[in-house]
Each structure stands twice: as structure tokens, then as C-alpha cells.
Symmetry: C2
Subunit: 313 residues, 2 copies
Amino acid sequence: MAARILDGVAIAQQIRSELGARLDAFVRDARRPPGLGIVLVGSNPASEVYVRNKVRTGSESGLFVDLVRLPDTASLDELLAVVRRLNASDVHDGILVQSPLPAAMGKHAEHVVFETIDPAKDVDGFSPVSVGRLVQNRATLRGCTPAGVIEILDRSGIPIAGRQAVVIGRSDIVGKPMALMLLHRDATVTICHSKTTDLPRVASAADILVAAIGRPAFVTRDFVKPGATVIDVGINRLDDRESVERIYPPDSPRRAEFETKGSVLVGDVHPDVVDVAGAVTPVPRGVGPLTIAMLMHNVIVAAEQRIASRQQV
Amino acid sequence: MAARILDGVAIAQQIRSELGARLDAFVRDARRPPGLGIVLVGSNPASEVYVRNKVRTGSESGLFVDLVRLPDTASLDELLAVVRRLNASDVHDGILVQSPLPAAMGKHAEHVVFETIDPAKDVDGFSPVSVGRLVQNRATLRGCTPAGVIEILDRSGIPIAGRQAVVIGRSDIVGKPMALMLLHRDATVTICHSKTTDLPRVASAADILVAAIGRPAFVTRDFVKPGATVIDVGINRLDDRESVERIYPPDSPRRAEFETKGSVLVGDVHPDVVDVAGAVTPVPRGVGPLTIAMLMHNVIVAAEQRIASRQQV
């Protein structure tokens, strides 16, 4: 029996329509839309796509979206000056600096930026204050991708409390916050990574398996307990024929897609897993749409909190 | 074969003697000792004991220790005023506000205090900035108890990388930071808690088992894989005869101790576990001494960093 496919587009749509009422209330109160400042340095093609999606979805959702572009040659100081201006702005409720930053800014540039963003406007949830509050289970602005995964589980009626959850991947932006969020929902959580011994055995203890490693089709059937829920956070673009033919059988529509477009998007989960799992998120149209929906959510929460804290003063 | 007993007193002594040279260098440079401000509100008997130990160990180690006492009736605002004074002080490199705070301060008082302490002086590692940096594996001031557990493992030659670690307990001050520190040392980490299904089975997968739940003798033989390392973070005072007689056999010296003193200290790990485990930390004289040694370590690190950052400016 093939797994149930968890439709990220439909769930994201549901969240965005619920946010509509909150946004309207904010606009009535504040007499302006919630504002999101996006800073894009340089012109990394993947970043261009992500930023375009954020700008479009934000604008369609009724946010004021302000895209600030800096050239590839911008210095870290110039970037920080933009962040400080947005911190001080009255009409920017959320600030997002698109990763990755140009290598010339130095390897600590992202951390310096995350430490500079006002935590009250940190809609990506990447500042140390936001992350620390997340650990203490009192964050209001939480990382968009892991928060989106929780929404998928909740809105699909998949219980978390008391279940075994295994997160493969320990990145700062997905793996670690994901593990913490599942823990706070009373799952028993295991975090695995490249140094884990016998990964398939550890993973196959999971009732909920989250793959966030960035390796195409890495999670195969032997990683998955029959009936488990498998959440695929990976988005990998494959443009070599050999890999595509190894992963997809000859009759797969993905093969045809590859012939037409020259590339296909593949998650971290092998397509065969659908035969074993109880439920899976597809790629694309799985976790991805939730990331943007939760960004909209965070901007509205940040805007509401800024208004509320001003009314208290 | 009985488990090897990991001697926390000896390991703590080793750390403190290594810190001696760093402290001397700081004093030569700064022409003053590193300073630790301890704030104690009220007179909780357990807190009195903890604070007395910190004051004594700090002074013996050559720190300037400044104990600020506030009455039980002090308001949160009065406490925050003290914290802000210590934040601004040039001679206080570290600040520690002893928990618990009086209930009358409100249930969010500790979080407000942790958010107020200057992260550069947060020697307990409890501020959200410190915790967030810990998640991002770039904290210099890390929680003293979990950092002490890592020292015990390292200095006892117990490998962490590639091993299965299970942490029982998900507190903000031990369980969660402990899991993160083990993860950053390349263990595969599982966090368990009161909602975990079949806890003995999950725990007995561990090569390294950390018990931090505050339930006397809760971790029994069936939780422990033969040969595993068991770290006992619990310190529970037992003063009822029935519990003492249930846990300790008639010929145990703990029974005699109970008869003399009217109470005994018991960890979260049952004494029988010594027959199964490969290595265990005792209670007392296990993790406890490390907590204070790592506090001294953090004060000296904070002092060194403050001097270094001033020289950069």
C-alpha cells in the first residue's frame, strides 16, 4: 500500500488564509501593513529564486515587502549598516538577510549578521537570542522550516507526543531546531548525522523520520519502519542523467521531466520509500511551501508583538 | 565485574590546578583578580549550601567573589537593578544569580533575569544568547554541569564520537545543553523524558547514558547496556527510612550513614547499576565537583575575553 502523500501546498494555503484575518486586524490597528525587509547581497541564482518567491508571496499576502539589494562587492560593514537601519525602522517588522553571503565577507559574517538583527524582528529565527529562547521553549519567532514541519504533522493528524522521532541532519537552521521542537511536543528525539554508526538501523526506530541532510535520495527503504511518517526537507537539483536514471525507474514522470527541462528536483528521501512509509512529504510541494507560509506567519507575529509592546510602554 | 568509578573530585582538582596558571597570567595583565558577583535572594537552605560552596571555592581559587544578598521580600525590579549594576561594573567579570528565585517574583522572573545579565558575563550559560550560541556550537560560556560531564568523559578516556548517547531529562540547565554538547562531539544523541515510551529499552541502547531527572535511584540495571558509561547528574537527599532501605542492602555503608545523619544523598542512578555498567560517576563526588570547577573556568574565560575585547578597541 503506497504511503499517503502530505500536500504541503494545501497546508500552506490553509495557513496563509488563516493569517489573512490577523493581517486585516493588524492593518486596522496600525493603519499600515506588516513590513518585511529582505536583504539580498550579490546574485546567487538559487538565492534569486528564493527571494523572488518570498517577495511575491509576501506581497500577495498583503505585506509591505522591501527588497534591499547590495552588490557582490559590498562589505560586511555596509551590510550591517543596512541591518541597523532596518532595526531602527518603524515600518519594517521583520528582517531577513538571505543566505549564503559572499565568501569575501568572511566565514563568520552570517553569525555577525544574526547577532546584529534585532531579535524582535528576527523572522528567520536565526539570531542567538531566538535560538536560545527556542531551547527554553518560549520562542515566538521560530525557524520557518522546522516550524512548518510541525504544522504539516499537526494538520495531517499525525501524533507527536510519546512517539520516537529521528532527525537526520544537525544543521543550525533545520536539524537542531527541528529536534528541539519535536522534543517540546513530547517526542523522544534522536539526532543522527554523518558520524552516526549504522544509520539505517537508528532511523528505522522512528515513527517520525525527518531527513534534512541535502543528499539526493539518501534515505532508502531500509531506513524506514513500515508505516512511519517521513518528512523530506531536502531540495536537491539533479542535472546529471546517470543519477536521475539510478533513482527513477524508466516509466517515472520524473524521467520525462528531466528530458524536457534538463534537471529535476529530488528530496533527501528515495522515491521507493513511498512503498514502505505510512505518509511522506513530496519534493517539490512538500515542506518548501510551508517554509514561506511560516515566514509570513513570523512577520505577522513580529508586527503584532511590536504594536503590543509599544502599547504597553 | 564492578564498574570503574569516575572520581569527580580528582578531575575537578586537575581542572582547577590547570586554571591556576591562567588566573596568574590574568592577574599579571589586569592587575586585579577575575571577579565573580553572586546574587542570592532569600535564604533557601539548599541555595545557602550551593552559594557557600561557590564562594569558598572561588575565593580559594584566587577569584574576587562578591556575594550580594537580597531579602526574600525583594522585588524583581530590585534584583534587576543589582544585575544591571554588576553588568556595568569593571571588576565583576562573571555574574551568577542563584536559582530558585522567591515565588513572589513571578514565574517568569528567572527568564527576565537571564535576559538581563550581560551575555559576556553570563558564567552560568543560562542567558538566551549563551544558549543560542551553544546551539550554533560557538559558545565560550557553556552551562557548567553539562560542560563538566564532557570533561569527565574526556579526562577518563571515554570516547564520544560515533557513540550512542542517551540523555534522560530535558531541563534547560542540564538535559538540553547536555544533548547539544554530546551532539557537537559527534555522538548520536537521544533525549528521553517522562513521556518516553519504554524508557528502559531506549536507554539501554546507550554507550553513554546521562541521568538528569531528579528522581532517586530511578535508573535501574534494566536501563543499562553492559559496559556502558553511566553519568549520574542527580543529587537527591533522602530522609525517609523506607526509601533508604529499599535502595540500599542492609550491609551498605549508606545505611549506617543514614543512621548517623538522618539522611543520605542519592543520585538518579540505582547503586546496583555498578554491577552492569562499565563506568559510573558516584553521588556525591561525581558530577557535583565538576559543576563548581567549570564555574571557575567560566569566570576566568569571561575575564580573559573582557580584557581581550578591551585591548581590541
